[in-house]
């Protein structure tokens, strides 16, 4: 049976300061695919272009050349606002430094993406509370980020990324700031979400151990994909 593609990058290039003396080729002719329901690790050494690829996928920075398709949508033709809407509705983001808003409680941080979507407050709160409880944060709903541990903060970030039921979750070193125990705790949570809900995840990491917990590993070096982890490769 042919697997359905969730994410496809075709001949994608990213060049910073193009044509200038300080030109940097961050990503060169990248071709990769992530299938629906996959949990994929994107690995490579520092400065290899991992985070750039993630940002390109999330539309946080535009590609210089090439095509990116997310859930069948070609992001090339999208305006800034359409891209923002796509990100809001179809992509979940998880960052290394959690990036929670420190002036919002755990619940408010989770609720925010739904409010941005225009979901009524009560409904957003109900969903957020449920999700936080599912992730074991039932007693921390009213806590502010500075009152949570690193693992708890990242779980809140995961809840925030899941709340909109996105097509794909992009994780940028989601365990980078965590100790080993917390990192495994977070990864097992990703795995659970992936298995139980069929959630597609693309996680950037430089840890082989973390990569090993994924379905496959895509390796990148100096901006070029060196291994896709697919059988034909």
């Amino acid at each position: 049976m042919e697997r359905e593609e969730m994410l496809t990058l075709t001949n994608v290039h990213k060049i910073y300061n193009e044509g200038k003396s300080n030109e940097v080729v961050a990503v060169h002719d990248v071709n990769m695919v992530v299938y629906k329901g996959e949990m994929v690790a994107l690995m490579g050494p520092s400065g290899s272009g991992k985070s750039t690829i993630l940002n390109l996928i999330g539309g946080l920075t535009p590609a210089t050349k090439g095509t990116i398709k997310i859930d069948g949508v070609d992001t090339n033709g999208l305006s800034n606002e359409e891209m923002t809407n796509l990100r809001r509705d179809r992509i979940g983001y998880i960052f290394q430094h959690f990036n929670l808003l420190d002036f919002l409680t755990a619940e408010q941080n989770v609720v925010l993406p739904l409010l941005i979507q225009g979901i009524p407050n009560y409904e957003a709160k109900r969903k957020a509370d449920m999700l936080l409880r599912e992730l074991g944060l039932g007693s921390r709903i009213e806590h502010y980020p500075n009152e949570l541990s690193g693992g708890q903060e990242q779980r809140v970030a995961i809840a925030r990324s899941l709340i909109t039921t996105p097509a794909i979750i992009l994780g940028d070193e989601p365990t980078g700031d965590l100790d080993q125990a917390s990192a495994y705790e977070v990864m097992s949570m990703f795995r659970r979400i992936n298995r139980e809900q069929g959630q597609t995840l693309l996680l950037v990491t430089h840890s082989e151990e973390i990569g090993a917990l994924c379905d496959r590993i895509i390796r990148i070096d100096e901006g070029t994909i060196v291994e896709t982890g697919l059988e034909e490769n």
Binding site: L60, R87, N99, L101, F103, L115, Q117, G118, N121, T164
Partner: protein, 1093 residues
């Protein structure tokens, strides 16, 4: 050394932020310098203008009424020849100027002594019928060299000696009113004035000389126009200048002519006798050069005055003696003091706002550098070094700000002078900018004070950071309660406040309400009580929480301010001219209290705001709810910054709305009072000479203008005075000659009460005071069933109307309150039952009884204004006698039949309706100028002059408004500080939140949502400031309006102005936030996410 280096580098490392601090300090210093320069220059300029208007005149002697003349020897000798009781001129007061020149004790001080005639006349321009009553005319001696100059529009000096007989120079102010657009040069004016054949008689002697009124009608030719400019004496151009010789000749001819025409029998019984060739009524004195100081001038003035009084005998009291130059110097000192105080109070509030901006910037800067400070501490810098390094940086910024502030202050002072000269209508070239080394020193002092005080607290806070937590990026929670030391310190202040309050004299704890009777006493009570209020708040802060403590303190401050405004202000009965400081205390309490209150409860308020806003947008399918949450929560989390921002706006808006509402209430708040006093009278039509009743002027006026199809028409019209007597009130209560006071008499008859003009909307109030209960009541004869509170007053009024007597004495009813003299209080010259002696044609000196006192009525105000507008209000105001007696009165000076007044009510609802101006122009044209106009029919030199009743008040308003405009412009400067503050806050806030913005964009915030969240946060913060500003400013406006008008004015809220300030606040907040917001939204989210602050 390293500390110095670090500080120096910091100055240049954050150019934008430090530039903002420098601008803040520059603004603060500029304000202080500007206030000093402006107020000193202004005070100086008022003096300069006044000195220029004086020329070299240092002292003046003017008669109480202009129709009294200081005579030359001829009259005295003539009188002496008739009656041996009157000594010849060389033994008496006659020939005053001549005799003064012979007086060694006078001439010891006096270098020059000049005589003049200064009087009023009615002038008519025959071609158009334009008429100007009470036009001031000055007869200036040809040889008067030192006392002033007239300049035409080309700057040429207009010499009196160049004038031929009958030629005049016309002042610019009079040109448009008389000539309209016509060029007056070369045109003729008909000129009419009256005088008495003799000056006065001695009321203590049996001699009764009846003065005869002699009217002069002549034609004068205008040869040039003088302007309101130049360094001459005649700076104010609302008069006619001509030669003294010509005026004296004119008077003498008129006198001789009257003598020649006098009835032979009458001439035998009561001959016209009069002045000599050289009649004058004003003396101007210039002291010798050695009399160069105020103290010496006082001595010279007193000696000269005493000599003149001695010369004049008891009649010396009929003249006003002005130590003019010294008075001006005193006025300069007073005006500098008052203006300085006023500007300093307002300026300090604006400066306070600037300080808030700087503290805001400094705090943000240090917060942004927390990690850097942590590293410095980690590698060995101690707390002192951190403080010194930060303070040095502040000091550098302060120095730069001070230097710029001196320049800014200079420019600001210049701008203020330009604005003032424009708004007060004098030539700015007359004003020298006062810029002393003291001012420069002061500016540096304040620059240092501002920079050090604003830098100190953040520097101390920076030195106290928890190094480990800061390096790990943890924000430690703040303690909820205050420490014991703070509690003890606070309690000490409270105890000191209590002790201070107990030592006060008068003491509020002992005397209660009575301690607040005098404004200055209330002022000294304010501070200690405010200190006492701090006590409970500190207890709460210690035992419960800081939030509770601050809330209690804020409620205490606000309550004390409100108690003062709504209760204590009503207790205050007298003021010695102070009060501004008191108002400043109240304002500081209100602003401080309200800011504290909102700040300590910002969580609750923001939460409420968020809920309200979310509810408002509940049905919108857009990210607005997310934006709302971010904006409100951000505001709550940055409490200090939010507080400083809304406090900034609260302060500025309080000031602006305060001035605005005070000014607005002064402008419109008296409308009801004026309407009530005037009985809804809209217009007054004045005839320069009596109009014979047979002509039926009233009827003809009504036929023409009453209820026609005109847009504006007269509903009712009534004559008020038929004849008017200008005379002296001789107060017999202290025996002897006593004091003479100015006293104008109006005559009434039955028609005065216009029983045929029954209209419920047009009942003129005559509030009579029986002097027993002190309760004014309304007496309106033509209202059926109206209760009469005092039957005696009613009888007196009826007797006066009918010309009958009580106790064998004719009656006089006096008015005692200057209805439009705000703040001047009562001017009582006679009480019920007093006797007033008036000289009558048929019975000599007769005793009149003061039958009643009118406490207010519209007519006296109009009459008084028309009669005395050039000289100010007479102290004794007006008396009313029956027509029968009026016609027989000559009193000491006789009867002046110069004016007749009619009052009218139009169909317009508002007495300030501008359409009345055009209407009155129509009336004037009808009466004066058109073919077959009434004026021509009578064949007399007179005309009709239309006056809106409201214009009397408008004249008062004009000066007030200039002052308010100046204040409004001055406090508007605060908005510059406000916008600067908002710009800084917005740009810093966006810079701090770069990463956060990237994250929000990653989550799905559109660019517009990012901008909206930044704008919303600032708009809401500004809105809090606006609400506080509206409440505080309105309350302060109410307080000042009430105090200033003794509660007479209606307090009006200037909604339009408030709306304007609201819009300005929103626009400022949006402008300040939108640029940083847009630039932040343009940063690619991937870049923003990499930003580590």
């Amino acid at each position: 050394m390293i500390t110095l280096k670090l500080a120096w580098r910091s100055v240049f490392r954050r150019p934008v932020q430090n530039l903002a601090v420098i601008i803040g300090i520059t603004l603060g210093v500029s304000l202080f310098v500007g206030i000093q320069v402006g107020s000193q220059s202004l005070g100086q300029s008022f003096g300069t203008v006044a000195e220029h208007s004086l020329g070299r005149t240092e002292a003046k002697v003017d008669p109480l009424l202009w129709d009294f003349f200081l005579t030359q020897e001829t009259l005295q000798d003539e009188l002496s020849a008739i009656n041996p009781l009157i000594p010849p001129h060389n033994q008496s007061r006659g020939s005053l100027a001549y005799q003064l020149r012979q007086n060694e004790s006078v001439m010891e001080y006096v270098e020059a002594l000049t005589e003049r005639i200064e009087t009023t006349a009615t002038v008519v321009y025959e071609d158009t019928g334009s008429i100007e009553v009470s036009q001031v005319v000055k007869g200036i001696p040809v040889n008067e060299t030192g006392f002033g100059k007239l300049y035409n529009s080309e700057g040429k000096i207009l010499e009196i000696s160049s004038l031929a007989m009958g030629e005049v120079y016309l002042g610019r102010d009079s040109v448009s009113t008389i000539f309209g657009d016509v060029d007056p040069i070369g045109k003729n004016l008909t000129f009419s004035t009256s005088f008495f054949s003799v000056e006065f008689a001695n009321p203590n002697s049996s001699l009764s000389i009846t003065p005869k009124l002699i009217t002069v009608n002549t034609s004068v030719r205008i040869v040039d126009i003088f302007e309101d400019r130049g360094l001459g004496e005649e700076l104010f151009s609302g008069f006619i200048a001509t030669s003294l010789d010509w005026m004296q000749g004119m008077y003498r001819s008129a006198l001789l002519d009257a003598r020649a025409k006098q009835d032979p029998v009458e001439k035998q019984l009561n001959p016209i006798i009069g002045y000599g060739d050289y009649m004058i009524n004003t003396i101007r004195i210039n002291f010798k050069d050695k009399i160069s100081t105020d103290a010496l001038r006082d001595v010279a003035f007193n000696e000269t005055r005493d000599a003149i009084k001695e010369q004049l005998g008891g009649f010396g009291d009929l003249y006003i003696y002005s130590n003019s130059l010294n008075d001006i110097h005193e006025n300069i000192a007073d005006s500098i003091e008052n203006i300085s105080l006023l500007l300093n109070v307002f300026g300090s509030l604006i400066a306070f706002a600037a300080v808030l901006v700087i503290i805001n910037i400094q705090s943000m800067a240090l917060q942004a550098r927390e990690k850097e400070t942590g590293i410095q501490r980690a590698i060995g810098a101690n707390r002192r070094q951190i403080i010194v390094s930060n303070m040095l940086e502040s000091l550098f910024l302060g120095l730069i700000g001070s230097v710029l502030g001196v320049g800014g202050g200079y420019l600001y002072g210049e701008a203020m002078i330009l604005f003032l000269s424009w708004s007060f209508g004098f030539d700015s070239s007359l004003i020298t900018l006062v810029f002393t080394t003291d001012i420069i020193t002061t500016s540096f002092f304040w620059g240092m004070v501002i920079s050090l005080t604003t830098g100190l607290l953040p520097a101390i806070n920076a030195s106290r950071i928890n190094v480990a937590q800061v390096l790990r990026g943890i924000t430690p929670p703040q303690s909820v309660k205050i420490g014991k030391k703070s509690l003890y310190f606070g309690m000490l202040i409270t105890i000191l406040g209590l002790v201070y309050a107990y030592t006060l004299d008068p003491n509020p704890f002992v005397q209660g309400k009575d301690a607040f009777l005098v404004l200055e006493d209330s002022e000294q009570i304010y501070l200690p009580i405010a200190l006492v209020f701090l006590g409970p708040s500190l207890l709460f802060a210690y035992f419960k929480s800081k939030k509770w403590g601050l809330t209690i303190a804020s409620i205490g401050l606000m309550s004390w301010a409100y108690i003062n405004i709504f209760v204590i202000f009503n207790w205050i009965e007298t003021s010695n001219g102070g009060g501004l400081l008191y108002v400043a205390y109240v304002m500081f309490s209100l602003i401080g209290g309200s800011i504290l209150f909102v700040s300590s409860n910002l969580d609750t308020l923001a939460s409420l705001g968020e809920k309200t806003f979310s509810w408002m947008v509940r049905n919108r399918k857009s990210p607005i709810r997310g934006t709302t949450m971010v904006a409100f929560r951000q505001m709550r989390s940055k409490k200090v910054r939010s507080t400083l921002t809304f406090a900034l706006f609260a302060t500025i808006l309080t000031l602006n709305i305060f001035i605005g509402s005070w000014s607005y209430s002064t402008r419109y708040g008296f409308d009801e009072v004026i309407q009530e006093i005037s009985g809804n009278t809209d217009v007054s039509i004045i005839s320069s000479q009596p109009i014979e009743r047979s002509i039926g002027f009233t009827q003809r006026l009504m036929d023409e203008f009453g209820k026609t199809d005109r847009e504006v028409y007269l509903e009712y019209m009534k004559p008020v005075t038929v004849s008017k007597i200008s005379s002296l009130y001789y107060n017999t209560s202290d025996g002897g000659l006593g004091e003479f006071e100015r006293f104008a008499l109006g005559a009434v008859d039955e028609d005065f009460m216009w029983s045929d003009a029954l209209h419920s909307q047009w009942q003129i109030r005559f509030d009579l005071d029986d002097n027993k209960t002190g309760t004014p009541f309304e007496f309106m004869e033509d209202v059926q069933g109206e209760p009469i509170a005092n039957i005696e007053d009613e009888k007196a009024w009826e007797a006066a109307l009918n010309g009958t007597m009580i106790d064998g004495k004719p009656l006089i009813i006096t008015e005692t309150i200057g209805s439009f003299e705000f703040g001047s209080g009562l001017n009582i010259i006679a009480v019920q039952g007093d006797s007033i002696y008036l000289n009558t044609t048929d019975g000599g000196l007769q005793e009149f009884l003061v039958a009643s006192i009118i406490t207010s009525n519209p007519l006296t105000s109009i009459i008084r204004d028309m009669t005395h507008r050039e000289r100010g209000h007479p102290t004794g105001s007006i008396g009313i006698v029956a027509r029968k007696w009026a016609e027989n009165l000559t009193m000491f000076s006789g009867k002046i039949d110069t004016e007749e007044i009619f009052i009218g009510k139009s169909n317009l609802k508002e007495i300030n309706d501008q359409r009345l101006v055009d209407f009155l122009l129509d009336v004037e044209f009808w009466a004066n100028a058109r073919e077959g106009a009434y004026r021509k029919e009578t064949g007399k030199i007179h005309g009709v002059y239309g006056l809106r009743v409201y214009s009397i008040y408008e004249r008062f308003l004009e000066g007030q408004y200039r002052f308010f405009n100046f204040l409004q412009a001055y406090v508007s400067l605060g908005f510059l500080v406000g916008i600067l503050g908002l710009l800084v806050v917005a740009s810093r806030s966006v810079a701090e939140r770069k990463r956060q913005i990237g994250m929000l964009r990653a989550l799905g915030f559109r660019r517009g949502d990012v901008v909206a969240s930044v704008v919303l946060e600032l708009v809401v913060t500004g809105f809090i400031g606006l609400i506080l500003g509206i409440i505080n400013g309105t309350v302060m406006g109410y307080a000042l309006t009430t105090i200033n008008s003794n509660g007479e004015a209606t307090f009006l809220i200037p909604w339009l102005l408030i709306l304007g300030y609201g819009a300005l606040t929103f626009i400022s907040a949006i402008i300040a936030a939108i640029l940083p917001g847009i630039s932040a939204s343009r940063i690619p989210p991937s870049d923003a996410l990499r930003y580590t602050g």
